[in-house]
Amino acid sequence: MIEGTRSAWRPIGALALAVALSFAPVRADEPPGNAPPYSVAALPPLRFVGGVIGDDLYNTLRQAPRFRQLGRDMVGSPIELRVYRLLRTTGGNRAKGEVTGVLAASTLGLIPMVISGEHEIIYEYRVNGRVVSRYSYKKAITRSINLWKSNDTTHGLGKDGLEWARSTADRFLQDSASDAALAAVVEEYNAYFTPTAVPTG
């Protein structure tokens, strides 16, 4: 029933999204958790879902030997790598954002709108929809925005934020090189289906 309300809220969501997409970084990343010592050298065909900062992350991942069979068109693969972005706000900074938003709007943009929130880029391995492992990279961001400017080419992250977002691909490659849950999935995959030959490394 909840899903049925998506279209009804799109205008409001779009407005909030436009606001949420305009931020700049101020705090260092949080480190991801320790990964268990299992090697995942070669992965079977797996589907890529995501476009957080266009194709940048996808292209970086595709260069890694283990992701040679990663593809947006692998729509039938039971294994999926999904990359998406969250914006977490507390009640306090939601309120500040809304108050400054109202002030910004009522002064016709003379006063900028200030919004704070924690951006999170998440890499998830999913098997037929179930999340088997998750890697998360966070950055707290505060940004002053002009309501009348909307041609942001940094995907709402600001210049430094965009660099941070790009860097998460390399960090994910490093962090996920040893993933027990994914290794178990690959082992099961190879037990049922012919192992797919791909370069290792």
Binding site: G13, L15, V52, Y84, G129
Partner: protein, 403 residues
């Protein structure tokens, strides 16, 4: 033009937004949420809270907005509101060994009626011994208009409804450590009492594959269920998951009801391209009557979508709810079961009857691996429409999932 109106909406909604923003910034129970003044809050007891798995990580604001989602989840809401009323709160997971004095099952629901959005929370409260104490619901509504404000409106509605629900719980029960000792846990207690039995969250299909009454279905059908019912010819039987594989999208359920009407595997588990198949299932429940739907077609390809493994393509029509439904040969042998259909809307191309089933040989391999019984028959037996439909209809069951 839409941008101008959106910006104008912000200006017009100034009073409402400021009021809501101020309320949202508070970390105390808002003054307009009714709680008895003599009640000491937060109550000095731990509360265990159940939220349906499919709702825990829902991000209502940005649904359908692409790769950026609001991180505000119902789990976040409960994590902020619960401590206002109880000394400690935790979300219940299966096998949870943390102790609690009260268990609270929250079942949120969102509905749209014209311009009015309503967020409803149905809640059930149990003591440490799982005795029911309270069963009620609260809701918050908003009529959308130029003065309704921007931002996370649904988040505010859910916050309001949750606050009212928690306030009602403490008002009705007046909890403290003396009245409600912290002796309960869900370590060895099934979660089914927490389920909303008013309606299933999903309904699909399965089939008996051995005389023990074990049922095979698709794993995605039963993924988040805390209670499962199977039904065959009006006989409803509770079931539990005994083995599953997300990779194969396969799950086996125990019903503990012996049966002679189960499907046998074709020895060797091979099939012919173009072979006639019968598909049977319980799609579109409860729109369609609770009787099995039977369709016929053929095996149209030995492979599924790009990147798929272990699947065959078939043309017998299926609909939502057919997942887990058996694909049966003219001789009544199991050839596979339905797991997916091609959504033409998703690829902007009209499609007809492009459906996918897990091949029986992988199901057989799974059963051997898990030492679960099944029968095989030699190919070449009597093959006709009657044999196929009798076998399929005799073994098929509906599967209902409750959270």
């Amino acid at each position: 033009m839409r941008k101008v109106w959106a910006r104008l909406g912000w200006i017009l909604s100034l009073p409402a937004v400021v009021a809501t923003a101020v309320a949202a910034s508070s970390s105390a129970i808002p003054s307009d949420v009714p709680v008895p003044k003599d009640l000491k809050l937060p109550a000095d007891i731990p509360a265990a809270i159940y939220l349906p798995a499919s709702r825990r990580e829902a991000h209502p604001l940005f649904w359908g907005m692409g790769d950026v989602e609001s991180g505000r989840t119902l789990e976040d809401e409960v994590g902020e509101i619960g401590p206002l009323f109880f000394a400690s709160t935790h979300l219940i997971d299966p096998g949870d060994d943390r102790s609690h004095a009260l268990a609270i099952a929250l079942h949120p629901d969102l509905s749209v009626d014209g311009q009015t959005i309503t967020f409803k929370v149905h809640y059930k409260v149990f003591d440490a011994e799982a005795h029911p104490l309270l069963d009620a619901e609260k809701s918050a509504s908003l009529t959308v208009g130029p003065f309704s404000g921007g931002g996370d409106v649904i988040g505010k509605l859910s916050q309001r409804a949750m606050l009212l629900a928690f306030a009602d719980i403490v008002t009705q029960l007046r909890p403290d450590a003396t009245r409600f000792p912290s002796t309960g846990s869900f370590k060895d207690r099934p979660l089914d009492l927490l389920a909303n039995r008013d309606k299933p969250v999903s309904s699909a299909t399965g089939f008996y594959f051995n005389a023990n009454g074990q049922v095979m279905t698709a794993a995605h059908v039963v993924r988040h269920c805390i209670a499962i019912d199977t039904a065959h010819e009006s006989q409803v039987v509770p079931a539990t998951v005994v083995a599953s594989s997300d990779l194969l999208d396969l799950a086996v359920l125990d019903t503990h009801v012996a049966t002679t009407q189960y499907l046998r595997f074709r020895r060797g588990e091979r099939y012919e391209l173009g072979e006639t198949v019968t598909a049977v299932g319980y799609p579109l429940q409860p729109v369609l009557a609770a009787t099995p739907t039977l369709t016929r077609g053929n095996i149209s390809s030995q492979a599924g979508l790009q990147g798929s493994v272990g699947q065959l393509q078939f043309s017998a029509p299926i609909q939502p709810g057919s997942s887990g439904g058996p694909l049966v040969s003219e001789a009544g042998e199991l050839l596979g079961f339905a797991v997916a259909t091609l959504n033409g809307n998703a690829i902007a191309v009209p499609t007809q009857n492009v459906n996918f089933a897990l091949e029986a040989r992988y199901a057989a391999q799974f059963l051997r691996l898990h030492r679960l019984a099944f029968d095989e028959v030699e190919p070449g037996g009597k093959a006709d429409l009657h044999t196929a439909t009798t076998a399929a209809l005799g073994a098929v069951v509906s599967v209902k999932c409750y959270e």
